[in-house]
C-alpha cells in the first residue's frame, strides 16, 4: 500500500476527530450563551484542546506538502496560515474575561471550521478511495498482462 494511501487514511481519521472537536467547541460556546457554563470553566475546558488541534492541522499540512499532493495542501493552506498568525500574535487561547464580548466572533470562526473539516473529511475520503482503487486497477492490469 503506497504511502499516499496511508497518508489519506490517517488524514481521514484526523479530520473526523478534528470535526468532532470543532463541533464540541461550537456546542460549548452555545452553552455559555445559555448560561449552562461559566466563562472560566469554558476557557479552561477549551484551552486544553486548542494547541493539540493546531498541531494536528499542522502535521496534516506538512505531510501533504512533503508528499507532493498539491491540491490537498492548497486546501489546507488557509487554515494553517490562520493558525500560525494566531499563535504568532499570541491570540489563540480563550480569555475568560473577554470571551463574552467576542462570543459571536468565536462562534462564527468555529462554525466555519466545522464546515471546513466536514469538507476535508469527504475530500480525504474521496482521495483515499481513488488512490486505493487506482492502485488496485493498475496492478490488476499489470498482473493480467503477464
Amino acid at each position: 500500500m503506497s504511502f499516499t494511501a496511508i497518508a489519506y487514511i490517517i488524514a481521514l481519521i484526523m479530520a473526523g476527530v478534528l470535526l468532532f472537536g470543532a463541533v464540541y467547541f461550537v456546542i460549548m460556546l452555545t452553552d455559555l450563551e445559555c448560561d449552562y457554563i461559566n466563562p472560566i470553566d469554558l476557557a479552561n475546558n477549551l484551552n486544553t484542546y486548542v494547541m493539540p488541534e493546531m498541531a494536528a492541522q499542522l502535521v496534516l499540512f506538512v505531510v501533504f506538502l512533503l508528499m507532493g499532493e498539491w491540491t490537498t495542501m492548497l486546501l489546507n493552506l488557509p487554515l494553517t496560515a490562520w493558525n500560525v498568525v494566531k499563535v504568532v500574535n499570541n491570540r489563540q487561547f480563550y480569555d475568560a474575561t473577554e470571551v463574552f464580548r467576542t462570543l459571536s466572533r468565536h462562534k462564527r470562526e468555529n462554525f466555519v471550521k466545522v464546515g471546513f473539516y466536514l469538507l476535508c473529511f469527504f475530500y480525504y475520503l474521496y482521495s483515499m478511495i481513488m488512490t486505493l482503487v487506482n492502485e488496485s486497477t493498475a496492478d490488476y492490469h499489470a498482473a493480467s498482462a503477464h
Partner: protein, 527 residues
Amino acid sequence: MSAGLSLHDPLEAHHHQQSEDVVDVRRRALAEIDNAKFGWFHIRACLVAGIGFFTDSYDIFAINLCSTIMGYVYYADATGSAKNTTPTSIDMWVKGSTQLGCIFGQLAFGYLADRLGRKKMYGTELIIIIVCTIGGAFAGNTARGLSVYWILFIWRFVLGIGIGGDYPVSAVLTSELATSKNRGAMIAAVFAMQGFGIVAAAIVSIIVLACFRTAIEGDQLMLDYVWRIIMGLGVVPGILALYSRLTIPETPRYTLDVEQNVHRAARDVRATVSATGHKTIDDVHEPLHPDHVQVKAQKPTWTEFYHYFKQWKHFRVLMGTSVTWFALDVAFYGVNLNSSIILTAIGFSGTGTPYHALIRISAGNIILNLLGTLPGYWVTVFTIDRLGRRTIQFIGFTMLLILFCILGFAYHQILDKSVAAFIVLITLAQFFQNFGPNTTTFIIPSEAFPTRFRSTCHGISAASGKVGAVVAQLGFFHLKDRGGKNAFIPQLIQIFALFMLIGLIFTWFVPETKGKTLEELSDELDN
C-alpha cells in the same frame, strides 16, 4: 396557598400542603426539561444513545461484507461456480440471525424497561453487544458438526438480542429527556447514527483490506484475519459509550410517573440538564417529610395493559405503529436487493481478484449510501419538528408507493433504456425511506404512549418491524431467484408496492405528536 382553608386536623392540613407542593415540584421539574435550551447535554445524550444504532448498522454492513469474505476463505477449494462463495442457504441464515435475535430483544427489553426502569436496563444491552461481537470475531469450527458459520449464527443471535434491546430503551430515554420543541429532531438524530454506521463500516473495510493487501495477494486465506478484524472493530464505539450508559441517571419522567418519587426526580432533572452532569450543592437538600405523598408505585401490570388497550382509541395507535413499521421493513430489505446490480452498473462490481472485488464493493457502498440514505436521515432531523411526523410518513409512503410501482412494472424497460435512471429511482427510494417511514415509525411509538407503557409499546412496534425484516430476508431470499437468477425481482417490487399501500393506510391511525409535551400526549389519549 391554603390560607383561607380551615381544616380541623393539622396533620391533614400538612398533607394538603404537601400534595400541592408535590404537584408544583412535578410541574416545575417537567417544565425544566421541556424548556431547556439545546446544549451539550442534549448532544451528548444523542451520541450515547445513538451508539447502539451506529453499531447496529455497522454490524449489518459488516456481516454482508464478511459473509462474502468468508466465502473466499472457507470455500476457496469448492469447484465451479460455487468457488469462493458462501452457499445461499448458509448465507441467508447468517445474515438473518441478528434480525431474529432483535425480535426477542425488543420485546424483552421493552417490557423490562417499563417494569424495572430505564436506568437499570441501559448499559446491559450494550454489554451484550460488546461480548457477542468479540465472540463472533473469534468464531471457529467445532471438531464435529458445527462449522464456523453456525457458531457465528449463535453468537449473532444473542447479539441480536442486545441490539434489539437498544431500540426501545434508547428511543424512550431520548424521548423522555428531550425538550418538546426538539424532541423529534433528537430522536431522529439518534436514529440517524445508523447512516454513519454504514459509512464507517465501509471505510473500516477499505482500510483493513488495504493494510492486508500484500498478505491477501500472497495467500487468499489471509482474508480470515480481515473479516474478523472488521467485525471486531465494531465494538470500539460501544466501549467508549459504555461508561456513560451505565452512569446515566434515571429519566425524571419514569421516576415521577412510575416510581412516584417527585423530589428525586427534581434533583435528577437539575443534575442531568447542567452541562457538566454533576449534581450541584444546593440540589442535595431533600425536604424532610415524615411520609411521602402517594408512595404506591404505579408499576405496569398485564391487567392494566389489557384494559388500557381494550379501548379502540388506544389500541388503534399501537396497531398503527406496529403495522406501519412491519410494512416498511419488508420493503426496506427489498431496496437493498438491488444494490449489487447498481454497483455493477457504476463499475464497482465484485469481480476480479479477491482484493480487487472486495475493495470495490466497499467503495461502491459508500457512494450509494452517501447518495440516498444519509441525506434522507438528516433531512428528517432538520424538518421533523416543523413538518410533523405524520406528514413526513405520508410523504414517504406515497413516494415509495409511486417509485415501487414504476420500478415493479417497468423494471426491465428501465434497465435496458437507461441505467442512470434506474440508479436515480433506487436512490430516491432510499432517500424517501429515511425521509419518511423508517425514521418516523421509530419516533412516533416513543412519544405516543403513556410513560408506564411507552417502552413496552415501542418494543412491540419495533419487534413487528423486525418480523417484517425477517419475513423479507428469509422468505424472499429464495423467491427472488424463481425462474432464473434475480428473475423474480420485478414481481417482488410489486409486492413491496402493495406493502407500501398498507403502510399508507395504517398511517391514518397514528397521532401527530409534533410540539406536544409527553404529558399532553398521554392525557389526550386518556380522555
